[in-house]
Structures are given as C-alpha cells and as structure tokens.
Symmetry: C2
Subunit: 322 residues, 2 copies
Amino acid sequence: VEVREIGEFGLIERLRRALTGGHPRLLVGVGDDAAVWRAEGRFLLFTIDSLVSGVHFLPGRHPWEDVGWKALAVNISDIMAMGGVPEVAVVALALPPDMPLDHVDSLYQGLEECARTYDVALAGGDIVQAPQVSIGVALVGRALEGPEGPLLLRRDGARPGHVVAVSGPLGESAAGLRRLLAGAPADDPLVRVHLRPHPPLALGQEAARKGIPCAIDISDGLLQDLGHVARMSGVGIELWAHRIPIPQEVWSAFPREALTLACAGGEDYQLALVGREDIVLSLTPPPTVIGRVIEGEGVRVLDERGHDVTPQERGWNHLRQR
Amino acid sequence: VEVREIGEFGLIERLRRALTGGHPRLLVGVGDDAAVWRAEGRFLLFTIDSLVSGVHFLPGRHPWEDVGWKALAVNISDIMAMGGVPEVAVVALALPPDMPLDHVDSLYQGLEECARTYDVALAGGDIVQAPQVSIGVALVGRALEGPEGPLLLRRDGARPGHVVAVSGPLGESAAGLRRLLAGAPADDPLVRVHLRPHPPLALGQEAARKGIPCAIDISDGLLQDLGHVARMSGVGIELWAHRIPIPQEVWSAFPREALTLACAGGEDYQLALVGREDIVLSLTPPPTVIGRVIEGEGVRVLDERGHDVTPQERGWNHLRQR
C-alpha cells in the first residue's frame, strides 16, 4: 500500500491514531487548524506549513519575494482560523547549492514584509541542503481568553441552525494561478491575490471575542475545508451557489468554471465562520452568509431552485491519487 | 553568486541582517540553539530542524523508525543546549506519493517513542507532496527561571578562565555512520548511536539551574560548534586532544581517523558546557573537561606536548562548497 492511496487526510488521521490518547498538556491536538496547549495559565497555539518548489510554486513563475510572503501568511491564516494572535515564527529552509543568492535574499524580504505586516517576530531557523527548494514555517500564537477559558474557533463547533459565512471573495486565487501559469505577469490583479494572500486576522479575533464557536480558513478549497467542519462537528452543510461571493473578474476570465474555482480552487485564505446569524452579521466588516448548517452529513451546493449543483472537484488533497 | 559560496552559516547571518533589529518580543533571535521570547512573564524557547532524504539519511540504510526518532531528538538537543524543558512539537512531512504506507507508520512510531521518552506532546502538523522525503520538526519549550529571570545556556557566555567540557563520548555517531554506509547492520553498537541519539536533557537543565552561562549541542562537529561559541563570545578555545573522550570502539574501527571523527564528525548530540570548573564538575554525571577558554579567537586542538594537532576538517556546513 502506498501513501497515495490514503492521501494527506488519511495520513493525518493515521498520525492521530498513532499518538494514542494525546498528551495531558494538549487542549487541541492533531486535526484542527492549529494545536492548542496550556502553558501555565496561558493557552498557546502552534502550527506548521511548508511550501515545496514544483508543488506549491514554480520557480520562474512565482517571484521569490511572494513565495517568502506566502510561506508565513499561510501559517498566519491557521492562527486566524483559531481566533488567535500570532507571535513568533521560525523557518526551515531547504535549498539546492546552485540557488542564486539574490533569490534567497528576495525570499527573506518577502518573509520579513509579511512578519512586519502581521507583527510576527521572526526568530531564526534552520537551513539545509536539498535537491529542491522548500520553505517550512512554524508559528506560535496565543489564544484570546475569556472569563471561562480560551476563546477558540474550532472545527467541531458547528450546530444545526448556524449560518455559514465567508470573509471575502472566493476563486480569485485559483483564477490567478491559472492566469499565472498561462503567462500573465505578476502584477495582474488576480495573480496578485494568488501570490500575496492577506488572511483577515483581526476578523478571526473579533469572532472569537464575540463567542463564534467554529471557523476554518479556506486553504484547500471551500468544499473540502467545510467538509472537515461537517465531519468533525457531525453535521451537514448546505451552501447557496448564488450567495457565494465570486468577483466579476473571475466570471469574466473563466465563465464556465467560476463556481468550481470558488468551491474547490483553494488558497483564498479567507475565513469561513460558522455560528449564530446575528453574531456573524455583527462582525466588522460583516462576512457574507453563503449557507447553513443542517442535520446530516457532507457539504452540498444548491442553486436558487434548490437543485444540487455541487462541483465534482472538492479541493486539494496532497498525495491523493486523482 | 550561488548559495554554495556562502554556505549555511553565511545564509543564517544574512537572514539575521535582513531582520533588522529583531523584535521587542525576542530575548534571543537568530543565531543561538533556540530562539527565546517573553510570553507574559514566561520565557519560551523555539527551534526547528529538518531531516532530508539523501542528505541526512539514506532510505534502505536508515530504518524509518530511527529517522522518526532522530527528527525529534535533534530538536530536543537544541532545547537542551539552552537549558530548557521541551514541551510541544509539530511535524511537517513531505512525502512522495509512492512511499509505502508502512514506512510512514514506522516513521510515526519512532517520533512517538522519542516524544514519550522525553515527555514531549506531539501536536500535529502538515503533510505535503514532494519528490523526496523530508521531516521538519518544530519544538517549543520553556526556560527554567531564577529570581532574576530566565536561566539560559547561551552561545555568547564563554569567558577566559572557563573550562570546556563535554557530556559524553564523541566520534561514535560519525564512526557509526561510516559503518552503516559500509554495510553494517542497524544493531551494530556504533550504528545504534548514530541512529538513535539520546541528548542528555536533564544535564542541560541542571547546568542552567547551577548558573553555567554557556553551552552548545554537538550536532555539526565539535570544532565547528565550539567555533560558534568562540566567535559569539569573542574568545579563543584550546582543546586537549588526549582529554577528548573517544571510545575504544572508535579507535579500533578507525585508528587513523578517530580524532578527526571526534572533532569534526558531528551528530553526537552531546552537550558542550563552558563555565567555572568547580560548577561544571559538580554536575551529575560530571562532564569530561577537554579544554579551556583563552583570550584570542578560534578553536585549536593541542597534544600533550602543546603541539597544534587541529584536524583540517571542522564539521558539517550545509551548502558550503567543499
């Protein structure tokens, strides 16, 4: 049996089972956007994500500065999805010996810009030799705290009656990637969204403070990411195609695939929130309600007449046979 | 200019300069064994290290369980070298799709055994596709604290008059690697030391509690690692060849290269301590004094008659042209 037969999520589930019972220090272990542990009265968040050349970006297409930005931004997105405050990051770089030094400098610059923008302290790391470039970033943050403990946006907090909302437009990043691969320049507006994701960090914190119970960041694709929420919460999710915020630029560039790009394209790094409608709509800026939580299981997309229009593609699952 | 021309340490220095001025949250940033930051009255340690297939281990030679163990152990070694207590780790796995699933299970098992042995909570991670296997582990720990602040073993704490001591035998791991590559089985005693390093974590904590100011773990090679201490402390180090603890098995296996293996072989994951002789010798078990700190710069090895016998090889510097 090879790993492609069970894919990324199968492997994560297998790791969860290998770590029998977790550890008393852990409040949240394998399976949410970030781990949570108790550190003498404080609750800390921990996440790690890697970008691999040829898998997450293509040298010669993706500018190194943007790769550096994104390597940190995707981790900030995970802390956002728990409602936390990112604090300190370390970087593991794997580089081939013939990589031009000015590429590394550009990579550093992008990392530093993102760290400055989100007030994250970059604290060092590790550099090793490898046949191709990869950038791993680990990020620690803290949970906001209320009178009764940490305020966390968890994947398992969705309940029937909740609405599902998203913080911003979907499909731009996937559309931008297609344009980039087709030769569009790095300053094309859709390409910019793909290269420089800006997770709306403050929104996650406001949601946690206001008691929203559930969120996930949209990294692999809306359907796949909400699929984790549905499975871990033991509920079903119904999305309304006409409410999904797909920008005009995405419709113009890919008229027949816009819904699929928005539902399965991934890398939007927007926040999907699940909770009481009045609280969700009180956030600033108010997210767009795109569906609701129901009894049942799975995630479906319906059109205005109630017909199932769920795209076949669901999103990115590393290693999974396609 | 390519990265091989400045190597791993040149790249780290360049990163340090790119992060102009550090961040107010950081007590120790780029350049020590682990970063240190202030988290509301508590001092946390943060480190990251990766093992890359073909660079740090060879599939078919290095059993996957041992690779898993080592991926976490090398990070525990960094926390040890700051005198800290490791707490929580996350893992970034990069795998090719055709990797057999039982190899991944073995890898997980080794990680889990090491986590259990050192009471580290494994909190999850990230799995991505890549052409070859790499395992990145990020580890957070806490610093022990005294009445005046965190008790840290730092690289810049060496002063003339201090002794230099090591926690255990040197050269076994490098000798074990050579034997492994020559076809020795995984249960050969020297090969075991190479495959399953056991950083003496409690010793680092005792040293920190007793006020030892300076330490580093021996990962790249004794000369190279103490070279960082000498440079960052602005001192010279004189080592005495006949005092370096090189086991009989290493002399028997590699009679002409034993001193070089002990001085430059690396991956011993022993602790090198620098401080007052009486305090160093009061530790349990007492480390072996192998030299002293002097005015000047650099690291030299002398024989019993005071002749310079410093091996030409100094240790491992990733990416550096050889």
